[in-house]
Amino acid sequence: MAEKKSADFEKSLGRLEELVGEMEGGELSLEGMIKHFEEGTKLVGLCTTKLNEVEQKIEKLVKKDGELKEVPFDMEEAE
């Protein structure tokens, strides 16, 4: 669900850091290395996607006909 999406980026980046650290530690077998690489590459893709996927929307919540609605927020309002 959307709920865990932000944590995903953080977890992904954390995991990525861990993978790279282990790879650079030099203790891994070739197989482990390849597994780490594959997982890491996936995470790089995931993180990049997440960074770009955040939707640029500046909205304001308004009550219309008794219902809450998000409408684009006009910066001029704040003047």
Binding site: S6, E10, V20, F37, I58, A78
Partner: protein, 450 residues
């Protein structure tokens, strides 16, 4: 005369009366109970202030009552800073309030300290309760006034740091009576959405009364129960509110709150790119390393030719042999050298003894020669003597003096007559020659010898 009489209009009288009243009394604090409270659509408040003995009409205009952190209610005991005045339109005497506090609650500072101590006691401000801020929020909720400077600052900073960040503003009154209720509701609402990862709750700077809603217990409790991390940003750096203590992070200003809410996109992208590089580099390095090791192993003599293993052993054995031989040779050489050294000494000794012997022989030779010479000399002298004697004894010399020597045919000297026979041929030696005769007769005498 009409002209002698000074006649005022009603308005003029009221105006004079008002001015007299205002300059006579000025500003003062008054305490009483509110009644007949009317909140006009214009935003102004009208009410009556009374106590056991008296009552007076009051007004509190919008600009002033906006700072009052509570809603006036009938029966409420209040203290007000007022200017006694007169409403010229109807000539009614009234008090114009500029500040209002609930009586008995103490000063705002006292209320602040009391609530802070109480909530701290409850553990509402404990560090353990603080939630970490997300690294990358999908959407940022903002609870503030839609018309203040705060929202503009927040949006500017957020979009500068992360151009495509999502922002949802929940418009809320951030000052005046009852505003705390709206703020608390907005915080609760953001928690129900599920797409908000962090929220900023706050407003721009103002007086302590302006910020007062953020010192209300309902706001502190709404922040405390929020599962979405809350960044508080109330007023300026020096302003601390109860909301700040309850929040997960307190930002000194709305702009600072925006900076805390999201990192710069470039920084995050840079971090991901760096990991990507290190990831690739790590594998590449390992691949290179393994290839190197593989090559080394594949080219080792064992793999090139299985027989080489045995050869290897042979080589080792040979090497050992050689080593042994070398050691042996070395030992032999050493001994030889020692021998040579002693030999040299020996030869040297020998040579010197031979030399000595030579010397000795030479010496002996010389002695011998010397002796020889002496002997020869002596012999020579003896010889001379003998020659002389011989010469004197030489029979031939006697023969010269008439003597002769007779020999038989076999050469024997005839010394007696009996030695010869008649008819025997004898040879007689004379000084200058010989004569051979045959014996014809012999006569033996007694005489013996010559």
């Amino acid at each position: 005369m009409d002209s002698k009489r000074q006649v005022y209009s009603v308005a003029e009288v009221n105006r004079q009366a008002r001015m007299a009243l205002e300059s006579a009394l000025g500003e003062l604090w008054v305490e009483g109970e509110l009644s007949r409270v009317t909140i006009h659509s214009s935003g102004h408040w009208y009410f009556t202030l009374k106590d056991a003995q008296a009552a007076v009409s009051c007004a509190m205009f919008r600009n002033d009552n906006a700072r009052v952190p509570f809603k006036p209610k009938d029966g409420m005991q209040v203290q007000m800073l007022v200017r006694p005045s007169l409403y010229e339109a109807n000539g009614r005497y009234q008090l114009i309030a500029s500040e209002m506090e609930e009586a008995g609650k103490g000063t705002l500072q006292e209320q602040f300290e009391k609530l802070k101590a109480q909530l701290a006691e409850e553990g509402l401000f404990d560090e353990a309760r603080k939630k970490p801020l997300p690294l990358l929020p999908r959407k940022i909720g903002v609870v503030t006034s839609p018309t203040g400077a705060a929202i503009r600052d927040i949006i500017n900073v957020l979009t500068r740091r992360f151009p495509n960040i999502g922002i949802l503003l929940i418009p809320a009154k951030v000052q005046g009576a009852g505003a705390e209720q709206g703020i608390a509701k907005a915080i609760d609402y953001l928690n129900t959405r599920g797409d908000i990862d962090v929220m900023i709750v706050g407003r721009g700077g103002g007086s302590i009364e302006d910020l007062w809603n953020f010192n209300e217990e309902v706001v502190a409790r709404a922040i405390a129960r929020s599962t979405v991390p809350v960044i508080s940003a109330v007023g300026h750096e020096i302003d601390f509110t109860i909301a700040d203590f309850a929040a997960d992070v307190r930002a000194p200003t709305p702009s600072a709150a925006a900076e805390l809410a999201v990192r710069e996109k470039g920084t995050l992208e840079g971090a991901v790119a760096l990991y990507d590089r290190r990831l690739n580099q790590g594998l590449k390095t390992m691949a290179q390393d393994l290839r190197l090791r593989l090559n080394r192993a594949a080219h080792s003599y064992v793999f090139r030719e299985p027989g080489n293993l045995a050869r290897g052993y042979r080589q080792s054995i040979q090497a050992l042999e050689t080593r042994m031989a070398d050691l042996l040779k070395l030992a032999a050489q050493e001994r030889f050298q020692r021998l040579e050294r002693s030999n040299v000494r020996l030869v040297h000794g020998l040579k010197s003894s031979v030399q000595q012997a030579h010397q000795r022989v030479d010496e002996l030779g010389m002695v011998l020669t010397h002796r020889m010479d002496q002997k020869v000399e002596r012999d020579k002298q003896a010889l001379v003597r003998l020659q002389t004697q011989l010469r004197m004894l030489n029979p031939l010399a006697v023969l010269g003096r008439g003597y002769s020597l007779t020999r038989k045919a076999d050469g024997t000297v005839v010394r007696t007559a009996a030695a010869v026979e008649v008819g025997e041929t004898i040879t007689t030696q004379l000084a200058d020659g010989k004569m051979v005769s045959t014996i014809t007769e012999k006569e033996q005498g007694n005489s013996t010898g010559d």
